[in-house]
């Protein structure tokens, strides 16, 4: 089955005082129809800019290279006109802060129907009906009066649902969600995750879910790719990557997170802190923080090798081989 989106050797750099600084350093992954693909990592790892590059929303002086084949065409090579046909129509995005991505002075109806009127060439009545349907789909109570309302009248969780409704207006096949629940309370987050899950199962929507929260990915995503310092370190089916992680960074991250089984034990942090893009160490970017680092790790960038089909990992050491599987988590 051909993938809905195939990203190949994506590289993104930004200009710096001493020349271009590499933010994303050769990333490739696939997203299948109807699946949730999780892109995980901490700040500065490049996950957000990866997503933005697919929609060509990079800052003006950024340089991007590589391919992103979506629906048979390379997103990175589209002309402005072709891009307009894709953005918002086949490929949509939802951002972290619904407050700043909704226009404060336009009604919900206006913002919802804008896309439809432009892309789908509907008339107002059709668009209105569809907008009602969308609000119902995202479970906004009393959609009729909600349409007449303004963003500030809604809570954070509601605004995020509205943002999702806007993204779905033109029935995209791929939705990119950048930290959609990070700014929300945990009970509200649960609601949004359930919504995303339902949308995928019922309409075959594919989602790229970007987050630092591995718990969220465990609950919702089918496959996950862990990023560190602009490179992928581990990818594969979510339960496999999170229950049987093999890369030291993934392991370290899981150990530093609260987990119910080890509630009485202290958290085990990863020493040091994530390096900024301009200060990335040579060789394996994680080596200064890694408990398993070898001398070679300082010189050579580990290649992302395929352990089994669909399961990749970039570390020569493979801690899992050195430890008992029961020590996971």
């Amino acid at each position: 089955m051909t993938a809905l989106l195939e990203v190949d050797d994506l590289r993104i750099s930004l200009p710096g005082p001493d020349g271009p600084i590499s933010i994303v350093d050769g990333v490739d992954f696939e997203v299948q129809l109807g699946q949730v693909f999780g892109l995980a990592g901490e700040s500065g790892c490049g996950k957000t800019i990866t997503a933005l590059s697919l929609l060509r929303l990079l800052p003006p002086r950024a340089q991007a290279s590589g391919h992103a084949i979506f629906d048979g065409r390379d997103l990175l090579a589209l002309s402005a006109a072709e891009l307009r046909a894709v953005r918002g129509r086949k490929l949509a995005m939802v951002f972290q802060d619904p407050t700043s991505s909704l226009h404060p002075m336009l009604t919900i109806e206006h913002q919802l129907t804008e896309h439809m009127l432009v892309h789908l060439r509907m008339d107002r009545r059709q668009a209105h009906r569809r907008a009602l349907g969308l609000l119902e789909e995202v479970r906004i109570p009393d959609p009729e009066s909600a349409l007449r309302g303004y963003p500030h009248q809604f809570s954070g969780g509601m605004r995020q649902r509205i943002q999702i409704a806007m993204a779905l207006a033109c029935e995209p096949s791929l939705l990119i969600a950048d930290e959609p629940t990070t700014a929300l309370d945990v009970t509200v987050q649960a609601g949004i995750l359930r919504l995303l899950d339902r949308l995928c199962r019922t309409s075959g929507l594919a989602v790229i879910l970007i987050t630092h929260d591995l718990g969220v990915l465990s609950a919702v995503s089918d496959t996950v790719a862990v990023m560190y310092a602009g490179r992928l370190v581990e990818t594969g089916p979510t339960s496999d990557v999170l229950q049987h992680s093999r890369h030291p960074y993934t392991r370290g991250l899981l150990d530093s997170l609260p987990h119910p089984q080890a509630a009485d034990l202290p958290l085990v942090p990863i020493r040091g802190s994530p390096a900024t893009p301009s200060e990335r160490p040579g060789g394996c970017a994680f080596h200064p923080r890694c408990g398993f680092a070898l001398a070679a790790c300082q010189r050579e960038v580990p290649a992302l090798i395929e352990l089994t089909p669909g399961r990749r990992m970039a570390c020569p050491v493979d801690p899992l081989a050195l430890r008992e599987p029961e020590l996971v988590g």
């Binding site: 930004l14 200009p15 710096g16 005082p17 600084i21 933010i23 901490e42 700040s43 500065g44 790892c45 996950k47 957000t48 800019i49 933005l52 990079l58 800052p59 002086r61 950024a62 972290q96 802060d97 950048d178 930290e179 990070t182 700014a183 987050t211 630092h212 942090p269 020493r271 040091g272 802190s273 994530p274 390096a275 900024t276 893009p277 301009s278 200060e279």
Partner: protein, 305 residues
């Protein structure tokens, strides 16, 4: 379990976005702000005019009041800017004009800054009726068109350069007061001021040690920009005959004379260009100062990526 002090940035959620990454990279060298073309031009120009203001007596080829040369002479090698209606060398008068306008403008801005800044700080610190009184007084001044109010003040005091300076101080202080007041109020809400108070500092000490140094930056920027404004106002008053009195070489009055003798274009044009270039210089300087102070400002986001 202690951790090494890691490298800067990247730990907090909030620097993940590409724009903030770009900004973080560019923020690195605040020194590079001064290498921008506008900053260089501003500094050179302002520096040159300041030098002229100080060195006018030595730089000018003729005495500005000396009426020896022929009247209405166009620019020649002997008189680079020509001569005016009384035979005085325009070039020398332009140079000496700098000695009048620039120091006075700087004095003026300092006064307005001291008065307005103090009132604004008190208003921001105390709030309540102190705030009300200061702000309503400021509103009163703002309500009247600037040049009219300045004219009214000079008319009341009598024409003359010193009175013109006072008039401009009267119309300028509210601008400073407003800025300082709002900055003081915002800064006093900051967490680090709360911390200082919790550690035992009195409110007054917190104001002096924590708030005012942080307020200084934008206020200095405002002062630099206001200098250009002050020069314009002073020249404007002199143009209207309310400021410098003849035979003082002042740009505004020279432009006024030039307007009366249009065919001798050099009389009014060169002083006019001098005004333009000085005001531009201080504006560029102010903008660069603002950019230079900007790298210090940090924006952080809680619970964000």
């Amino acid at each position: 379990m202690s951790a090494r002090a890691g490298s800067r940035g990247g730990e907090e959620r909030g620097t993940g976005g590409p724009r903030s990454v770009a900004r973080g990279l560019l923020r690195r060298g605040s020194a590079s702000v001064w290498l921008q073309p506008l900053a260089v031009v501003g500094m050179l120009l302002a520096g040159a005019w300041l030098a002229i203001a100080i060195l006018a007596p030595w730089l000018s080829p003729y005495d500005p009041l000396d009426q020896a040369a022929g009247l209405f002479q166009p620019p020649t090698p002997a008189h680079v800017f020509g001569t005016d209606e009384l035979g005085r060398d325009v070039f020398s008068r332009v140079l000496w004009g700098a000695q009048v306008s620039i120091p006075l403008a700087m004095l003026l801005v300092s006064l307005a800054f001291l008065i307005g800044g103090t009132l604004g700080a008190l208003a921001g610190y105390f709030g309540g009726w102190v705030d009300e009184i200061v702000m309503r007084a400021a509103d009163l001044v703002f309500a009247i068109p600037t040049i009219l109010l300045a004219m009214a003040v000079v008319a009341a005091l009598g024409a003359g350069l010193l009175h013109a300076v006072l008039a401009v101080v009267v119309v300028s202080w509210p601008g400073h007061a407003r800025v300082v007041r709002s900055m003081v109020r915002t800064t006093m809400e900051s967490d680090y001021v709360a911390v200082a108070r919790l550690l035992g500092a009195s409110a007054a000490r917190a104001l002096a040690v924590e708030v005012l140094p942080n307020v200084a930056g934008p206020v200095i920027v405002l002062a630099a920009l206001e200098t250009g404004n002050a020069i314009l106002l002073l020249s404007g008053l002199s143009f209207l005959g309310l400021g410098a009195r003849p035979p003082t070489a002042e740009w505004g009055s020279m432009v006024s004379t030039g307007a009366q003798h249009f065919e001798s274009w050099w009389i009014g044009t060169f002083p006019g260009l001098a005004i333009v270039s000085v005001v531009l210089a201080f504006n560029f300087l102010g903008d660069s100062l603002r950019d230079a102070f900007d790298p210090q400002a940090v924006t952080g986001r809680a619970r964000g990526a």
